[in-house]
Amino acid sequence: MLRPIAVALAALLSTACAHGGATRADAGAPAADSRPAFAGTYRPISAAPVLITGATVLTGDGRRLDNADVLLEGGKVAAVGPALTAPDGAQRVDGTGKWVTPGLIDVHSHLGVYPSPGMRAHSDGNEMTSPVTANVWAEHSVWPQDPGFGAALAGGVTTLQVLPGSANLIGGRGVTLKNVASTTVQDMKFPDAPYGLKMACGENPKRVYGQKGGPATRMGNIAGYRAAFIDAAEYRRKTRDAHGGKDAPKRDLKLDTLAGVLDGDILVHIHCYRADEMAQMLDLAREFDFRIAAFHHGVEAYKIADRLAENQVCGALWADWWGFKMEAFDGIEENLAIVDRPAGSCAIVHSDSEEGIQRLNQEAAKAMAAGHRAGMDIPPERAIRWMTGNAAHALGIEDRTGTLAPGKMADVVLWNGNPFSVYAHAERVWIDGALLYDRNDPARRPVSDFMLGQEGAR
């Protein structure tokens, strides 16, 4: 499972914070506080050890263990295997007849930036003022009281990347969050996760800007990306050459982010439907020497599945959306299964939806069923990777979550049965070892501030 790309990314991670957050010193402030700007303040909730016994365990890295135990201790996965011994004070959970998976990860969410209720005042996901807004950060729009977070938790989602929308060629930074209820987004930030950069191909940018100065065409789109990265390369060179001296260019938030992409610190996530446009974006990445972590919404990814695998680019996909616009016309139900097929592939189930994020397991089940119909049988232990290990890989956090390998964060879901069924429920969800959702215990379910005192919800 450890692909060359995983190794490369692990190396990247060690420097992930260079651009992952500019320090206050960068901004000219006193250097007393060296934390990155808008530093995350998430703290795991300490909890007693948990031993889940006798469950069917999907590890998230392709293995299935029947009648196995899972031990969570100190916020980490301590062990997975048969007949584990519970440490003193451990809570035992009977997993007989149940399934255990890593916590689910959605690489494409707009929770918080397009929250419920969907009021105009809440519409904070698209900075539709210019086609290149690499300077904006999605985390500055996230409303932590979006009830969608809690609903996603009930669907087993423990980590999500919240992205800006797709109106712009370059929409801004995405942020990876732990799905923990909180008053501030800083308290939700996944510790030291690399930032994502949201880019968009195709119809949306040219529709939004066609009458507002452009781009008005797909060729205009490409010209726009190139202009932005030419500026970024120059900024990066000048910054580097100045060695922090007085010749350093004035700090520019937009170019900071794009330079972070060129440095490999910020991971590129591109909304791109058509195969031909994905090929253009691969060439763009080659021209400016950056890597694309994932194409999102690639409804035509099946047309270039081999090429995506060769280029070590993930395909973050829906199970069955199609036809809602022209660039989605060639969507097929076997997309995930076909993208998953080549050696070294990285297929991901994503949502882009406050509804879909609650049911990533069902999205995967649909894709498995379609694959089966076309002669591609995908076992649960492989399919679970689409929303755990592979998703963590695309977000650059696979060394800490996404599988049940010992030492990883104890982000774990206990399902009431095979999760790849419409009838499956996440019964319990742990994040860093703390039980934050229990279907059978109302006291273990988060309620957003927004829902308090709503007579209508009773």
């Binding site: 419920s116 209720p117 199609w322 036809g323 616009k325 089940a365 076309a374 002669g375 419409v422 209508g456």
Partner: protein
Amino acid sequence: MNRLVKNLACAALLALPLAAGAQELLIRNATVHTAGARGTLEHADVLVKGGRIAAVGPNLDAGGARVVEADGQPLTPALFGGISHIGLEEVSGEESTRDAALTLGADARHMVVRPEFDVTLAYNPESVLLPVARLGGIGFTLLGADSAPGGSIIGGQGAVVRLDGSPDPLSPRSLFVALGTDASGLTGTSRAGQWLLLDRLAGEARGKVAVDSPHALLTPDGRATLARYLDRRGRIVVGVERAADIRQLLRWAKRQNVNIAISGGAEAWKLAPEIAAASVPVFVDPLANLPADFDRIGATLENAARLHAAGVAVGFSQAGDASHNARKLRQLAGNAVANGLPWQAGLAGLTRVPAEAFGVGDQIGSIEPGKRADLVLWNGDPLDVAFTASQVWLGGQAMPMRSRQTELRDRYLAPSPSAAAGQLPRAYSPKP
């Protein structure tokens, strides 16, 4: 890959009867979910003659009928695809391909009320959406008329079409009305204006306003159309979410003596006894469990289950992507079942309930003698997304289990052609 080849071969074989016309068919040894009074029948046969169901039961005599062995797999009526625009739009984002709303008004502030607008006249039975839906086990849908700026809260009329390629609707017309947040912009930005308008229009249809009155909103055709619904001929389908609006709706329907159905109904569960007493079917989206706006604060996964428990006839319809992804409707039903709705009620919401609500319960929606042989054989639980339709029959004819999407799939499942080896690009395959 062998399975694929086999499937394709089967599809080709199954396509033959289509050309040969309707013939006798015996589906043997199925788990027959009748969606009717007989419930589920294990190891049962279904005999089809002349496009209709001739008999349902164990050990039926095939006679000269072609026999399909079901091997115990589930057989259901062909499913409802929800209230959709299948055949009324090709690409949602391309206005030139959409025909589901009439917007004659000069701008958003200019209301034009045309209940006589009938979307079925725009229906294209050759739309690529039909085979896609059929492949998902969908056999019929209710074509809906949308409200939009330049129109009014009365979207117009639609009807049930069967997805067998036939050009004309099966059912009487239904009238579509939109209420609440989604439509208040069409009535002076207040939902109170919706009732004012509906009562005015009903009065007009009843002749209480002179045709040439400067206050008249309807054309003579519009009056005649609306008058039919006021005589309880045809169903008025009302899109409404908030409990307070539903309460007003029930009062209005009683006052005006009309047959209504509710679509959406996110908070319908709060008025379940009143809705049941008024015999109003509700078409819910069980996945819409978030407070998407201030009409849906009470949205819950248990809406369908609570309505059913109170005796309401529950059907399903989608909040979003209702046409291209009509096949998702059974996922809605499955989730309702996962959240407390009895399985048989989940199936009924996809079959019998919509058929009866929209005036075709005597034709389709259950597996009973005399009904059209619109059937689906599944490879597992039809309400579970883990399984797919193996074969769809409409009017007893096996539908080819192909669509534009399976054509794309098969083209790209094949190994990449090698130019060096003289192989032609994918555009030359598969062979027609």
